[in-house]
């Protein structure tokens, strides 16, 4: 665990990390190939495509075919990467991912770009807020939601080099704090303790990990000691770190830039409910579609900022067997 407060080295989009990771892994492993569904630059597959034109297949705006072609390439020994906007990568293609990829248990990395409401002005159709739920229900699928650009790069390399079977990696478009470093070494399947605390645990994923840290640092000033855990690998999830947090802190707040229903918070709640039930509050989209707006405006309007996490912490501390009522 980092002993010092983590700092933002500057905002970088997680998509940049994906592009760098793909390029780096591709340089080392000639079996890696990439597929494009027309928005190659936008989803950061272009650096790979430019460096390795013979290992890049442009397939046009035909996502279902992209996934099937990826399956055929994987069955013949390649390691295909298919990235497009996560709304399409995970949902337009769901049947192909379920049968041709997951049922066949093929090592394919699916990149879900433009994830979350922070996509901003494009509006609801392009703000994937359901992809975690949809991907994590599929047998054999690994679901990863890295917290910053640095981690996204490491995740992408690990997904291609170390993991087996299908992997879904979710990443965003908006530059966001880049704060993980050598004090927070990345290991697939392992949650990360980013700040210790004894009163409550904030378990976050993706962009909301930084918000969770800001909330926790601010809560210290109110004498509330919140633990912060980053869960980048949502499936298979690190049960131990969650159960330990439930036992040691007695209350949990989950935070994700995604629908609460069926998403990351639900995954955490499954672990908590089965092993050590404690009160949980959920930060995320509340069963509605997004809309156009600046990313920060949308995060504010739909309740996914550090302030909202702080309020949720106070609420969860008053729920369950505790009787104090807070005015929030």
């Amino acid at each position: 665990m980092p002993e010092k407060q983590l700092i933002n080295r500057g905002n970088v989009a997680t998509s940049v990390g994906f592009g760098e990771g793909l390029l780096q892994a591709g340089e080392a492993n000639p079996l890696i190939v990439a597929l494009g569904a027309d928005i190659t630059a936008s989803v950061k597959v272009s650096p790979f495509a430019e460096k390795f034109p013979r290992r890049f297949y442009s397939l046009g705006i035909a996502e279902q075919n992209c996934v099937g072609v990826a399956a055929g390439l994987a069955l013949s020994g390649k390691i295909p990467v298919f990235a497009t906007y996560s709304a399409f990568a995970s949902m337009r293609t769901l049947d192909q991912i379920r049968v041709s990829v997951c049922f066949n248990n093929l090592h394919i990395v699916i990149g879900g770009a433009h994830a979350g409401i922070s996509v901003g002005p494009d509006g609801a159709t392009h703000q994937a807020l359901e992809d975690i739920a949809v991907m994590r229900v599929l047998p054999n699928m690994t679901v990863i939601s890295p917290c910053d650009a640095t981690q996204t790069r490491l995740v992408t390399i690990a997904a291609l080099n170390e993991l087996k079977g299908p992997v879904y990696i979710r990443y965003g478009r908006e530059p966001m704090p880049d704060f993980t470093d050598e004090t927070t070494p990345f290991e697939t399947g392992k949650g990360q303790l980013l700040k210790d605390g004894t009163d409550v645990t904030i378990i976050a994923t993706g962009h909301l990990v930084w918000e969770a840290l800001e909330a926790a640092y601010a809560l210290e000033k109110e004498d509330i000691h919140a633990r912060v855990i980053n869960i980048h690998t949502i499936k298979p999830i690190d049960q131990d770190i969650i159960i330990q947090a439930a036992k040691e802190t007695g209350a949990i707040v989950t935070a994700e830039e995604h629908q609460i229903c069926g998403g990351f918070g639900s995954a955490v709640a499954e672990v908590v409910a089965k092993n050590y039930a404690v009160p949980i509050e959920f930060i995320g989209m509340n069963d509605c579609f997004g809309e156009s707006g600046q990313p920060s405006e949308l995060m504010e309007k739909y309740g996914m900022t550090a302030i909202h996490i702080m309020l949720a912490v106070k609420k969860v501390l008053t729920s369950g067997n505790k009787v104090i009522e807070w005015n929030i």
Binding site: G60, Q64, N65, G68, V69, L73, R98, V99, S100
Partner: protein, 275 residues
């Protein structure tokens, strides 16, 4: 494996495949009889003449790939694989039973040798074939990819996404075979959703189109050989077939698409097939 061009041999093999299909589906109590019987001549021709493959070495890297996009006719694939020696024929009667390697639709995770793809959701196999063919091109391999499709399956839009991409990449190492029996579950394809003009559709998507009598071994084999000569284009063979072929009493009857014969019907079917 050794290939045969003898019509008599192929007839005998196809009859054995058909009889096993009837036994299997009757024993299972469910399954797709019509299409499985209708494809028996094509499967006998492919596995005993056209394909380069090694039943004793199913993962042989240089083998031709056969993708069964219409997983529901798994019985004809299983019966053919057993006939070719991939596994013992005794196992055929385990079709659709608990813990069987012969799942209702092909499932590689159950370990049956000779399966290239777990499939069953229509419209996905041609994309997989494109991926395999791209890989063969990239690695400069000579193996050929065959994919088997239903005519009703061509109503899936994803087939045409795949068709476009195969032509774009000049994948002359794919041959798609369409089981053109004019039937699907709800009735005649012309009534459910018209597919014609089918030749022209494939042509417009950049494919070389062939037609053959799907019950003539010489025509099937010759057409597959012709298709393999294509230099720039992927090839499709529209094989005219009859659903339920070989069992006169159910031939061309779409009601037998997804129906299993009772024990008595099965006996009668086998009598008709043995005649």
């Amino acid at each position: 494996m050794t290939k045969t061009s003898s019509v008599k041999d192929l007839q005998q093999l196809a009859r054995s495949i058909r009889i096993n299909v009837v036994h299997m589906i009757a024993e299972a109590g469910s399954g797709h009889t019509g299409g499985s019987l209708g494809l028996a001549d094509i499967f006998a021709s492919l596995y005993f003449n056209v394909l380069n493959h090694e039943p004793k070495n199913p993962q042989w890297s240089e083998r031709d790939r056969l993708i069964l996009s219409i997983g529901h006719v798994a019985p004809v694939l299983y019966a053919t694989l057993a006939e070719a020696g991939y596994f013992a024929k005794d196992e055929l009667l385990s079709l659709r039973k608990l813990n069987s390697r012969l799942q209702g639709h092909p499932a590689r995770d159950h370990g049956l040798p000779g399966l290239e793809l777990s499939a069953g959701s229509l419209g996905q196999g041609l994309s997989v074939a494109v991926g395999m063919a791209l890989c063969a091109k990239a690695d400069k391999k000579n193996w050929h990819v065959y994919s088997i499709h239903g005519d009703g399956e061509l109503q899936e839009g994803s087939i045409w996404e795949a068709a476009m991409s195969a032509a774009h990449y000049k994948l002359n190492n794919i041959t798609a075979i369409v089981d053109r029996n004019n039937c699907q579950i709800d009735g005649k394809t012309s009534r459910v959703m018209e597919l014609e003009p089918l030749r022209e559709k494939w042509k417009a998507f950049g494919w070389d189109v062939f037609e053959c009598d799907g019950h003539s071994y010489t025509d099937i084999i010759k057409t597959c050989e012709d298709a393999k000569q294509s230099v720039f284009r992927p090839t499709v063979i529209i094989a005219r077939t009859k659903m339920g072929r070989g069992v006169k009493s159910i031939e061309d009857d779409f009601r037998w698409h997804g129906k299993a014969p009772s024990k008595e019907e099965a006996e009668d079917f086998i009598k008709q097939l043995s005649a």
